[in-house]
Amino acid sequence: MSIWEKYYSKPNPVYGNKVQFGMLIDISKCLGCHTCSMACKSTWTDNPGQEDMYWNNVNTKPYGKYPREKGSKDPVLYDYKNSNLYEDTPMGKYPNLWQFYLPRPCNHCATPACLPACPTRAIYKRADGIVLIDQNKCQGYQYCIKACPYKKIYYNKATKTGQKCIMCYPLLEKGREPQCVSSCTGKIRIFGDLMDPNSTISQIIRDPEKGARPYRPESKFKAVHRYLNKGERRQYRPDWGTIPSIWYIPPKNVPPEEAEKYFGHALKGLISEPYTPEGPIKFPEG
């Protein structure tokens, strides 16, 4: 729990925010339907320059990857097209096949890597913990794109700025959940303030037994029943050290040692190398 104490029980040591919005996502229940991606896309990134930009995307792991490196070591040259290659391509041989869907929005990290990388100081962390890029200040240097280990900042060639998930702050301000949460048909996402010890999300993350009960919104808000699996709550690639605010319940039908490669325990040692195996299928370039 020390990660919890260090980052969520007192104001953010660097940015001072006393609120940190985050999510808990139950991977085992993910339908792989991409409704979250399209909910996001139809609301925010349906404009010129954003054609291959998915603030929230879903991949079939282990082979799916977005963006793909495509021979380049420079993230600025990565390939954002065909964001869902290797869809439903499992690993292993019958009968021991496994795959899982990994939905990924921006992590709105407690110590974001993108923010200090910005030479024009366009990136800032709001008092609610949401990390934003000021579109008026951004000059399009793309250092943030190189800095973010999750590759969740996208360069818009039309506006010549970096853009990323905004955690639907305009909806939060109206008392509504983010689009990817409220429209999740699989009912796998819970949203809330990680730093509030009494919020549903922080209670469910701290007590892995709690998820088995239906999530009943404490208020009259139009939120829905959600049943989450029991089990440890993890972050995706916590070893990158940015303290992501998106938490996951790792998939149960995946060999534990494989799940560990994605949802390692930050406190139980770091994973040294990024893990994305080469897909078994090669498609012609272009």
């Binding site: 792989g32 008092a127 303030d193």
Partner: protein
């Protein structure tokens, strides 16, 4: 000034709405954190993106059984997106709707919208069109219909009406249009292969399934041949939720897909052997004494006596002179003799063979149907079943025991075990499991075959088939012609050929992509289309059918449709569909198009409806007991109302199995034994496993004992099972061209998917162009190799439009011979030829 007022406004809005109704318990700190800080004015840009002048709660109308509600956000008269309303009265159903509903606005404003009426000027399919006015279009259609009617008869004008429940007014209008003009009308539910014929066979109902909410009651769930996660997006969460509560979800399918990845256990039988597997389960259930004898005795045909000499049920007329042929006989244990059956009787003997003296004084050996069933089930011991299916005997024993021991266990089947030539047998075998264990009729139990949005939760009789005179029973009716025969041609075994067969001359697909999605694609295009003199296609987009039409008419999208009503089998709500934007281009509603054509044919007054609101109102008023008390005003107000049906959650046959009213079958009981001549002739009086008609290496359409000794010559030539199946990215062909979704579908093109071992044998590498072919046709696409596809099978996700396929068509290798069992009766969409889309074979080579 502006800044201050904006901040005050925001603050007000946060405290007044968010604080009272926040999902995530916004404490003071969280609230103040949301306050806008100085210096980041750019944030207003995103705030402006979400605003619109109005929000309309409506329902999308594809044939996916979802019937999902959306809040359409309209800004400057343009539908900018659809949000999740999360307003179903039972919160378990929220949220409802997937990425397709989310992107429907892309189709509304898509580049392939049909904008104005067009007449073909080149060859069919050449893409050469002439823009015409609506009046020209209506006049031309009316004169052509008149000409064809005079030459061949009005019943050769054939309306193809897809699933009416998706939009009762607009889809139902197709029926009304056919009725008032005495046109021919096609079938959809059986011809799609969606009708589980086992239901009319066993229960004399079209189909009865549990609403998805009922999954919350189950203690053990078998998903059988239905990729719930991909194809039942709105309801799949009921299963993952059940898992969280500790319910085991078992998945039976030859393919490793999303549902297999999610389920607690995945079983991979050889394609087309599901009936054997189910019979194997039943064998174990019987062997281990897990049969609910009392239930079987009281509610099924089990105790009814069957004559040994001819396999027919023993009737009262056989015993006494003047006895009824409609009364069935049981052996009564109280009087120790034969007695006319009474439903739910306790004293009937379930087992035994008895010697009965007939009215003619003959001595007849009669066994109870259950005794005959036990004999049949003996053949399916786990070892034999393992040999047939490839599932280990140990697994068969264990799963059957788990199923039989569960307090209440459910089977959720899909087209995977219905799109087969012998799909009826697979259905009957799975239902048998539910019957033997007493699960049918229980909440959390039952056998639900999910396919197609056929279910209208009101009686549409008066709207579909208008009365000729108020108060008299005579109605205007269309003349049915099963779509299967339109494509296949007549058969010798069809019911009432004289009345039901004729060569059609005009096709009017009323809201479906008939030519794009038709099975037997090769035959339809090459042999049937040349005989068709007029194809009128009202369409939203330039679908494959529109591309091959003579006249294309622009129809409003669901956002432009002023009003409609929709229902679905998956939940019990009747919902209002409302327009949010004005009709685009020159689009008109289906209703208006029919009305205008009727007017020119002289039947406008009978057709009557031009406005969708008027028709919606009429449907509700004449809808019968299910919608009693549900008026249009109420529906406008509440948008979504549960129909009058119990229990809640809905479970069919709930009353029947409790002795309150009997089944509507001839015996009044659940019939696992059938005695119609053709069942006896084909030895299908009891559920059996027959090898697939085509997709088997063994003797086709034969029982195992014979089949295993034979080799299927067709399979030696085409040794791969060909499967064109549903995918997550489209509802049949709808959304197939929506770029936003196509981009997310792997490489964004049709892919022939194979097991790497099969590909290697044929020298095919991933990404190579490959051709899947057989004697009927072929399709060319790139190869995708993955272990998910079992060796010996080829899979292609379907729905691709004519212009998206490199060469051939994904339905070209598919052909559907008609099973004579499906022709015993003909009742449109209730008993008719069920297509075996999955019972297909092909060979693949590198292109």
């Amino acid at each position: 000034m502006r800044k201050i007022s904006r901040r005050t406004f925001l603050k007000g809005s946060i405290y007044s709405t968010a604080a009272l109704s926040s999902p995530f318990l916004l404490k003071k700190a969280s609230l103040s954190a949301l306050e806008q800080k100085e210096g980041h004015n750019w944030e207003d840009w995103h705030r402006s993106q979400i605003e619109g002048e109005k929000i309309v709660r409506t329902v999308d109308l594809p044939n996916c059984t979802g019937a999902c509600a959306w809040n359409v956000v309209v800004k400057d008269g343009v539908a900018i997106r659809a949000d999740q309303p999360n307003d179903y009265p039972d919160d378990q159903y929220n949220p409802r709707g997937c990425m397709k509903g989310r992107t429907y606005y892309k189709r509304v404003y898509g580049p392939d919208r049909v904008k104005f009426p067009m007449k073909r000027v080149g060859e069919r399919g050449s893409g050469l069109w002439k823009r015409i006015s609506w009046d020209e279009a209506f006049d031309f259609i009316a004169s052509e219909i008149k000409r064809i009617s005079q030459k061949y008869g009005s019943k050769t004008v054939w309306i193809y009406p897809p699933v009416p429940a998706t939009g009762l007014v607009k889809q139902g209008a197709g029926f009304r249009f056919a009725s008032v003009n005495s046109f021919g009308i096609g079938t959809f539910y059986n011809w799609y292969g969606d009708l589980p014929l086992a239901h009319p066979i066993t229960w004399n109902v079209q189909t009865e399934e549990h609403e998805f909410l009922d999954v919350i009651n189950t203690k053990y769930a078998i998903i059988w041949g239905s990729d719930m996660l991909e194809t039942r997006k709105a309801d799949a969460h009921f299963f993952t939720d059940a898992q969280v509560r500790g319910v085991k979800v078992l998945y039976i399918s030859p393919y490793y897909d999303s549902t297999a990845a999610m389920s607690d256990e995945w079983i991979r039988p050889r394609p087309g052997t599901d009936a054997a597997l189910a019979m194997g389960f039943s064998h174990v259930i019987v062997k281990k004494g897990l049969v609910k004898g009392d239930y079987v005795k009281k509610t099924t045909c089990g105790p009814l006596l069957v004559r040994k000499d001819n396999g027919k049920y023993l009737k009262e007329a056989d015993l006494v002179s003047g006895g009824s042929t409609k009364n069935f006989i049981v052996w009564d244990t109280a009087i120790k003799g034969p007695k006319v059956d009474e439903y739910y009787s306790d004293t009937a003997a379930l087992e035994g063979t008895y010697s009965i003296i007939t009215v003619k004084g003959e001595r007849l050996q009669c066994s109870t149907a259950y005794t005959l069933l036990l004999e049949k089930i003996k053949e399916y011991d786990p070892k034999t079943v393992s040999e047939i299916t490839g599932v280990s005997a140990k697994d068969i024993e264990r799963i059957a025991t788990e199923y039989g021991l569960a307090e209440v266990a459910s089977i959720w089947a899909g087209t995977g075990i219905n799109h087969w030539y012998h799909g009826d047998l697979m259905g009957r075998a799975t239902i048998l499991m539910g019957i033997l264990t007493g699960n049918v009729g229980q909440q959390g139990g039952g056998v639900s075959p999910w396919a197609g949005q056929y279910r209208m939760r009101l009686s549409p009789m008066d709207y579909f088939f208008p009365l000729k005179e108020e108060g008299k029973p005579d109605r205007y009716r269309p003349i049915p012609l099963d779509t299967a025969y339109v494509v296949h041609g007549p058969t010798e075994t069809m019911a009432d050929k004289e009345k039901l067969w004729r060569q059609i001359r005009a096709i009017w697909p009323a809201g479906g992509n008939l030519l794009g999605q038709a099975s037997d694609q090769s035959k339809f295009i090459k042999e049937v289309l040349p005989k068709i003199e007029l194809i009128v296609v009202p369409e939203i987009q330039m679908s494959t059918t529109a591309q091959l039409a003579d006249i294309v008419l622009p129809v409003v999208s669901w956002y432009e449709l002023p009003m409609d009503i929709t229902t679905t089998p998956t939940h019990m709500y009747i919902q209002l569909v409302q327009g949010s934007i004005k009709p685009l281009y020159e689009a008109k509603t289906d209703l208006e198009i029919y009305y205008e054509v009727c007017k020119r044919l002289g039947t406008g007054d009978i057709f009557r409806f031009k406005e969708t609101e008027e028709a919606s109102d009429y449907l509700l008023k004449t809808g019968g007991p299910l919608v009693k008390g549900i008026t249009l005003d109420r529906l406008k107000n509440e948008k979504c109302i549960r129909v009058n049906a119990s229990p809640n959650p809905f479970a069919p046959f709930y009353n029947e199995v409790r002795g309150k009213g009997k089944f509507t079958t001839a015996t009044g009981r659940q019939e696992f034994y059938k005695d119609e001549n053709r069942f006896l002739e084909y030895k299908e009086q009891l559920p059996v496993h027959k090898e697939p008609h085509k997709a088997t290496p063994y003797g086709p359409s034969k029982e195992w004992k014979e089949a295993k000794e034979e080799r299927n010559p067709l399979f030696q030539k085409y040794p791969l099972v060909y499967l064109a199946r549903h995918c997550r990215w489209s509802i049949h062909s709808s959304w197939r061209t929506t770029e936003a979704l196509v981009k997310l579908d792997d490489t964004g093109e049709p892919l022939l998917e194979m097991n790497p071992s099969d590909a290697e044998k044929r020298g095919i590498k991933a990404g190579d162009w490959a051709v899947a072919y057989n004697e009927f046709g072929y399709v060319k696409a790139r190869a995708k190799l993955r272990e998910s596809v079992p060796p010996g099978a080829v899979l292609i996700y379907f729905g691709w439009w004519r212009h998206q396929i490199q060469e051939g068509h994904w339905n070209a290798p598919v052909s559907n011979p008609i099973n004579p069992i499906h022709e015993i009766y003909f009742n449109p969409n209730v008993w008719g030829p069920v297509s075996g889309h999955f019972d297909q074979v092909c060979e693949v080579k590198r292109a």
